[in-house]
């Protein structure tokens, strides 16, 4: 089932800059890569692992400085889509994504967020976050272990530091 979306997403949001210095951008990317603040936003089971488990004492995402869970999209850098997106929740996931301030990234955690996962056949499930928002890193699993999620974060870090890693 396609998500009701009038503007025809997925569509990479176009970044504009007033001034652009490539070297400054490099420095800033370095800062960005080490300070990815996730939007404290969990949809389903995966959220327990992705948002709580990784922040828990054992896996401690804070070591990388990524633990600053922001409750509002304005301050968040990465949207961790952890869980099933349903037809009902898709509009607000999209809205949250759109309300996030640039630059922003998205990690899809778990089968559900990648493709609808176990519920892909259901009448009420959106088959994956990529149907509505551009995803940067996919972390398969159901739910993935917190280690795997940290790995996803590190992959995102690599991508921010050097956007070319994706093109291999």
């Amino acid at each position: 089932m396609e998500v009701t979306n009038d503007k025809g997403m997925p569509m990479p949001s176009e970044l504009k800059r007033l001034v652009h210095f490539a070297s400054l951008e490099k420095v800033l990317n370095m800062a960005r890569a080490h300070s990815i603040w996730p939007l404290g936003f969990g949809l389903a089971c995966c959220a327990i692992e992705a948002l709580m488990g990784t922040n828990g004492p054992r896996y401690d995402l804070s070591r990388f400085g990524y633990e600053v869970m922001r409750p509002t999209p304005r301050q968040a850098d990465v949207m961790v889509v952890a869980g099933t997106i349903t037809t009902k929740s898709a509009p607000f996931v999209l809205r949250l994504w759109e309300q996030m301030a640039e630059p922003k990234w998205c990690i899809a955690v778990g089968s559900c967020a990648i493709s609808g996962g176990p519920f892909v056949d259901s009448y009420f499930v959106v088959p994956g976050a990529r149907q509505i928002i551009p995803v940067d890193v996919y972390v398969p699993g159901c739910p993935p272990r917190p280690d795997a999620i940290i790995d996803g974060f590190l992959k995102l870090r690599a991508k921010i530091l050097d956007p070319k890693v994706v093109e291999l």
């Binding site: 089932m1 037809t87 009902k88 493709s115 056949d121 009448y123 499930v125 959106v126 088959p127």
Partner: protein
């Protein structure tokens, strides 16, 4: 325990001669439902509506359900699981409605717990609970079409 349940059922049988009974299950028509439920709650202490759900038995699945289908289109069965919290008694009540015109009185006046459960059944099966105070879709979006748990509900999955 066993004995007590059977006592209750035989007592009920006297009061409501139309009901069909088996061990812990009572089948009742929609007209008698409310009266029976009131009786169950007030006289027999079934103060707790554990579960309320429905199942769809369309006609083409004739014989697959455990009841006999008279109508062409089949029936839907509403199942009430009752509990007496203090006496620790358990009872199942079943009622059938036709699929064409699924209407049944709400038991919300008897047990408040029916509120959301009936809404859920309405949402997923389209069974109308008359006199329910707030019969709206609860899980699905308001503009959702169809009742997904009916057997004839058609949809397309998202798999590529």
């Amino acid at each position: 325990m066993e004995k007590k349940i059977s006592e209750i059922i035989s007592e009920l049988k006297e009061k409501f001669p139309q009901i069909k009974t088996s061990e812990e299950t009572i089948s009742v028509s929609t007209e008698d439902l409310l009266g029976l439920m009131q009786e169950l709650k007030n006289s027999f202490g079934f103060n707790y509506l554990t579960n309320l759900t429905a199942a769809d038995y369309p006609a083409d699945a004739k014989g697959k359900g455990d009841g006999n289908e008279d109508e062409d289109d089949g029936e839907m069965e509403i199942v009430y699981n009752l509990t007496s919290v203090y006496e620790k008694l358990y009872l199942t009540v079943k009622a059938r409605v036709s699929r064409k015109n699924p209407e049944i009185p709400s038991v919300f006046p008897v047990w408040g717990g029916a509120n959301w459960q009936e809404r859920e059944v309405y949402d997923l099966f389209g069974i109308v609970f008359t006199d329910h105070p707030n019969l709206k879709r609860i899980l699905l979006t308001d503009n959702f079409e169809g009742y997904p748990l009916r057997k004839d509900y058609q949809w397309v999955g998202g798999r590529k």
